[in-house]
């Protein structure tokens, strides 16, 4: 406590629940959040420096370890960058396989987010459903790559494994079941008056804010800004199949959820078309790349959280002299400075999670009275607080 009215709530930074750890310090007056400080760096591993000591093929495995959730996003952007540098055109079959992997990842990442958002709101059914439908996606990954996470599919010049034609009918069947599940989830979430009351008008980011913070991905699209690297600068098979960029107006948590749900169904459309082409498309799934020339290359991939950017500079040796990585959350997390302020503490968890950077810190939330050093709320209590707020709204709206 700094003065009579102001109190700080530290959120984070250790023992992440989800992805990378971050530290948020909420400034609160009573129940209202009046400011926020964000600290990063708890998970800084010096990947850019490490990459300078790895040859280009090792670099793919290195950047795959940046994120455990969207583990193909960084390799995808990295191979795009190296291929841009060397002027490599990959085979058609590899393009389709890359897009299938990229979209499967988007679906599982969005379902993971949706489940946790449901849990924070006290809708554990949504949590269970989302994660139930996420499971078949991981099974598909296991079938394709042998791994449920860290699929190691990307390779300079193509992909490391083919999708066997014999597996395609089974994959299509799994996606069909998932699509029905998504229809049900979409209805359950978009038509629920309590969820609407809880999420509409909360954590609003205007188009102006998005531009100012240079935010990307579903966050930008939920504020009505139609940007998507897959459409704007087509790579892999994204320019060869029919799909639409999903946007929504409002910029609140509801809009962010809707964009993600609609995007998953677009992803299924993309995967279905790619699989159909893979049935007939013959040819290699990778070409051999012997040497990377000197020069610079930029690769981008629309990861589940937004545009992932890699810059690679080579001096004709087998290692990059500079490798810059910019993950989408780098831009998106900063928007919390706008989105959290002016709302309830019980909404803060949801708003911070709506960015989908990490729920990481939320498990470690504690409200501590500075003078007495007594813990007022633990992380568990804050999730409870958030869930109780939903209960109150439900009572008010539905009388039960």
């Amino acid at each position: 406590m700094t003065d009579n009215n102001k109190c700080f709530i530290p959120i984070g930074p250790y023992h992440p629940l989800q992805e990378e750890p971050e530290f948020f310090r909420l400034h609160v007056e009573g129940e209202m959040v009046t400011g926020i400080d964000i600290e990063l760096g708890y998970n800084h591993r010096g990947i850019e420096k490490l990459s300078e000591a790895k040859h280009f093929d090792q670099g793919i495995f290195l950047v795959e370890r940046i994120c455990g959730i969207c583990s193909t996003s960084h390799p995808f952007a990295f191979v795009n960058a190296v291929e841009d540098l060397a002027g490599i055109e990959i085979p058609e079959r590899a393009k389709y396989i890359r897009s299938v992997v990229g979209e499967l990842e988007r679906i599982h990442s969005h379902l993971l987010w949706l489940g946790l958002a449901g849990h924070f709101m006290g809708y554990n059914t949504i949590w269970m459903w989302s994660w139930k439908y996420r499971e078949p996606i991981l099974d598909i990954f296991e079938k394709i790559s042998g791994n449920r996470q860290h699929y190691a599919m990307m390779k300079i010049g193509g992909v490391r494994r083919d999708i066997e034609p014999g597996d395609i009918p089974w994959i299509e069947k799994s996606l069909g079941v998932l699509n029905k599940g998504l229809d049900m989830l979409r209805g359950a979430i978009m038509d629920d008056p309590v969820i609407q009351a809880r999420t509409k008008g909360v954590g609003v980011l205007t188009t102006e804010d998005v531009r100012n913070y240079c935010a990307v991905g579903p966050l930008a699209r939920a504020s009505g800004l139609s940007i998507d690297t897959r459409r704007d600068a087509p790579y892999a098979a994204y320019g060869m199949v029919d799909w639409k960029v999903q946007t929504y107006e409002g910029g609140d948590i509801f809009a962010k959820a809707v964009v993600r749900i609609l995007e998953m169904q677009e992803s299924i459309k993309i995967i279905d078309q790619c699989l159909a082409r893979l049935k007939t498309e013959k040819g290699p799934f990778a070409i051999s790349v012997k040497e990377i020339p000197a020069g610079e290359g930029i690769g981008r991939h629309e990861a589940p959280r937004g545009e992932c950017f890699h810059y690679v500079k080579s001096d004709k040796t087998n290692r990059p002299v500079r490798h810059k990585v910019r993950a989408p959350s780098y831009m998106n997390v900063a928007t919390n400075k706008k989105a959290v302020v002016g709302y309830h503490i019980s909404d803060a968890l949801l708003v911070l999670a709506a960015v989908d950077p990490c729920y990481c810190c939320t498990e470690r939330v504690a409200v501590v009275d500075d003078e007495t050093s007594k813990t007022i709320y633990s992380g568990h209590d804050l999730i409870k607080l958030s869930q109780n707020r939903t209960k109150d709204i439900r009572k008010r709206l539905l009388g039960k």
Partner: protein, 147 residues
């Protein structure tokens, strides 16, 4: 507006300042401008042309430090990159663009701690990624730190 146009417009407007122009392919344009033109270029690119700032990346070229400012033209899918070579490695300074849009604040802090470049006008150059007790004048991405 198509790609060529955004980069062509920059080429035309900053004809006197641009010292190197490379069109690697239709979607990738690199050009070099002096540090003094950075703010004007950024304002023009973001406010007038509607380009989106992706990120900046600093590189130690051994002789000095160069900073690349990457802008995306989402209408055409091009990435337009401005290269700024800082003239004096002993006195690394460049104007901040954090007041033009907030999105540049963090990367300036990052380049400051990893490469030792001072951003004039950015008051918040605290460590972003490194520990607070990281040794002074040790910049991890500089090659002159290598032992």
């Amino acid at each position: 507006m198509n790609t060529a146009k955004a980069s062509e417009k920059i080429k035309e407007k900053f004809a006197n300042a641009i010292t190197g122009w490379e069109e690697k392919n239709p979607k990738r344009v690199y050009f070099q401008i002096p540090p003094a033109s950075l703010r004007e270029l950024t304002r023009y690119a973001v406010n007038e042309l509607g380009l989106r700032f992706i990120i900046a990346s600093g590189t130690d070229t051994r002789r000095t430090i160069e900073i690349l400012y990457h802008f995306a033209d989402d209408n055409s899918g091009a990435v337009i990159t401005a290269r700024i070579v800082l003239p004096d490695k002993k006195n690394l300074k460049i104007d901040s663009i954090g007041d033009i849009f907030v999105g540049a604040m963090w990367i300036e802090r990052e380049i400051h701690e990893l490469l030792g470049v001072a951003f004039t006008g950015n008051d918040d150059l605290r460590h972003l990624l490194l520990n607070d007790d990281w040794p002074k004048n040790n910049f991890p991405l500089r090659h002159d730190n290598d032992r």
